[in-house]
């Protein structure tokens, strides 16, 4: 039984220019203790997916579908009930630490606030727990740091304060939006250790949104790849990153620094457009007339769900076509 299962979630923003479809028919499952990685292009809707689960979207957004957490549909809950779920059951680590912290409160106060509110702790106890958490995240002189205001911290320190805030409540599901952004290699390893321990010790599940494929490999059991509002590939971490099937995932892996930083040519389509066929069509090296018009459904190939009409069982022939097409265009 999955702890969280998302069924056909569609999130739309009503804007001046029209409807921005940031999540399009997304279905995902996260089991207890499992870590699911969500990777994909910037602006494809990863954060919006995370925020939809927590119902923290702005007023012009409409979500439809089902988000079932512990047998209750989060989309049907009232504001008050949702408040209960947030913080104590589902923790959230937001993407931009710079804007997530209150600039006029000392960070010590901001850290303990949640504990006092959700778990009814007394101030002293909350403080001890909060400081322990900061220490295990590798922040030096925590006691002195607690009296600092956010503007006195470096980028990486803010990131860790926000991380500590999100896990002090011992949530059973943590949604972490780029937890390792802006950290040096040593601290990054520390944060990864911590998240790993969290999932092992407290059996918490983790939805990890990240751009860092190394972090994804190190932490995730399963990985879902998102492109332009849709999940295009989903499978075990090892398979998706080492033997990607979807042309977008292949392109993503090929643009890693160690592969020479070759970007996928072109730009992703506007989320305003309704495209009948494949959304990756304009950039795809193996495209075909059919892809333009035919709706693409999820197929299962060797245990990996992939949204592409032309994935063969081995994925081998494609890779070759792909490699050639991209390198020559990118140079």
């Amino acid at each position: 039984m999955a702890l969280l299962s998302i069924r056909n979630l569609t999130t739309v923003f009503n804007c001046q220019e029209g409807m921005v479809k940031a999540c399009n028919n997304v279905s995902l499952d996260i089991n207890q203790g499992q870590t699911l990685g969500l990777i994909g292009e910037t602006g494809c809707g990863k954060s919006v997916l995370g925020l939809s689960i927590l119902k923290l979207l702005p007023v012009n957004a409409v979500s439809s579908g089902q988000i079932i957490y512990n047998n209750q549909d989060l989309l049907a809950l009232s504001v008050k009930e949702m408040c209960q779920v947030r913080g104590s059951e589902i923790g959230f680590l937001p993407q931009s630490p710079a804007t997530a912290l209150n600039p006029v409160l000392r960070i010590g106060e901001q850290l303990t606030e949640g504990l006092q509110l959700h778990q009814g702790m007394v101030k002293e106890k909350a403080r001890v727990i909060a400081m322990d958490m900061l220490k295990s995240l590798g922040l030096k002189d925590c006691d002195k740091r607690a009296a600092d205001y956010p503007h006195q911290l470096s980028g990486g320190m803010k990131q860790r304060v926000v991380a500590a805030m999100s896990i002090t409540g011992q949530p059973s599901l943590l949604i972490a939006d780029e937890p390792t952004k802006g950290l040096d290699a040593v601290n990054r390893a520390q944060v990864i250790d911590l998240l790993r321990q969290l999932t092992i010790k407290t059996k918490a599940s983790l939805l990890l949104i990240t751009h860092d494929l190394k972090v994804a490999v190190a932490l995730c059991d399963e990985i879902a790849v998102m492109y332009s509002g849709e999940i295009v590939e989903k499978g075990s971490a090892d398979q998706v990153l080492n033997n990607p099937l979807h042309p977008y995932t292949q392109g993503l892996v090929a643009s890693l620094p160690e592969r020479g930083l070759f970007p996928i040519p072109g730009y992703s389509p506007s989320l305003l457009d309704d495209i009948p066929g494949c959304r990756f069509y304009s950039r795809c090296p193996i495209r075909n007339e059919n892809c333009k018009h035919q709706p693409v459904i999820n197929r299962e190939v060797n245990g990996v769900h992939v949204r592409c009409l032309y994935v063969d069982q081995s994925g081998g022939t494609q890779q070759r076509i792909y490699g050639r097409g991209f390198q020559s265009e990118a140079v």
């Binding site: 602006g43 494809c44 954060s47 470096s154 320190m157 970007p263 996928i264």
Partner: protein
């Protein structure tokens, strides 16, 4: 193009009586890229901000083509404002949340280049958008309606509109996926080569820094502990901290954070090596402050073990 050099000596940022920067010096030539890596909180962003006169240094100088950049109060002199620019670490706080993207993009052009007509500015804006890969639909949005990566690109377009001669990029791609990162970095490198821009590139991703930079400097607690040509530093890091950084980057999977990060109880006597308390190879010599020495071709190291 004349020699562009930058020197920032003995900058001591005294706040609550601790030094955030301690005698940092380096120079960047036109068209050259200097990569700056280092521990989080080691003062990289502070270097960037002091250089551009956003915070006054306690001591030290910044030179641009042999001219002093900062006024006695530590502000940037007006003639340099357009020439030196910075891409901030957190782009979401660099844009005015109440301004639409199109206004934010026009603003610097209006302030700096008064001779352009409105129409010329609009076409220039269009070019810039193309360059960074955004489309017109984003122009009418407010910053909170864009994703992190999209904001990053708006900020980039905004800075390129000023055609700076020296650019500081403080983790410019930390919010981008690897493919867009590759696009942006290639774009940055191309623009840099075309215009001979000197670049100070701050990042935590050693592979990216290696690809972007000609030289790399490693910072630890407000000091540059090692500086070398990019390839050299990634292949043969010498300083124990640089080694830790390079190793832990390449082998995340098996890597446990505790290894090599020893906690000597010794808490760095005033004047000792800053890395003493964590260094696995620390010896008695290390109670003295090491200075940067040239040990190989353009390879500078601040460590007693050399």
């Amino acid at each position: 193009m004349e020699e562009l050099s930058k020197e920032y000596t003995a900058g001591v940022f005294n706040r609550k009586r601790f030094k955030v920067l301690d005698g940092v010096s380096f120079s960047v030539k036109p068209g050259e890229t200097l990569g700056l890596v280092g521990e989080s909180g080691s003062g990289k962003s502070t270097v960037a901000r002091t250089m551009l006169g956003l915070i006054p240094p306690s001591s030290g100088r910044v030179l641009y083509q042999d001219q002093e950049v900062l006024s006695p109060k530590g502000r940037m002199k007006k003639e340099f404002c357009g020439k030196m620019q910075i891409i901030f670490q957190h782009p979401e706080s660099a844009l005015n949340p109440r301004m639409k993207i199109c206004e934010s993009l026009l603003e610097p052009m209006i302030i700096q280049k008064k001779d352009l007509t409105r129409k010329e500015m609009k076409s220039r804006r269009w070019e810039l958008l193309q360059q960074v890969g955004l489309s017109e639909e984003h122009l009418n949005r407010y910053p909170h309606e864009l994703s992190g990566g999209q904001i990053q690109r708006v900020v980039l377009a905004r800075i390129l509109s000023l055609s700076p001669q020296f650019l500081v990029a403080d983790e410019p791609t930390s919010m981008l996926d690897v493919s867009v990162q590759a696009q942006v970095l290639r774009m940055l490198k191309q623009i840099q080569a075309e215009n001979g821009i000197g670049l100070l590139f701050i990042s935590h991703d050693i592979e990216v820094v290696n690809w972007m930079s000609d030289r790399i400097a490693v910072m630890y607690k407000g000091q540059i502990v090692e500086s070398a040509p990019a390839e050299e530093l990634c292949q043969n890091p010498f300083h124990p901290y640089s080694r830790l950084l390079v190793e832990s980057f390449s082998s995340l999977k098996q890597y446990s954070a505790k290894r090599d990060w020893v906690e000597n109880n010794y808490t760095g006597e005033a004047g000792g090596c800053h890395y003493y308390s964590h260094c696995p190879q620390a010896g008695p010599d290390c109670r003295q402050r090491p200075v940067l020495k040239e040990t190989g071709a353009e390879h500078y190291i601040a460590c007693w073990l050399t």
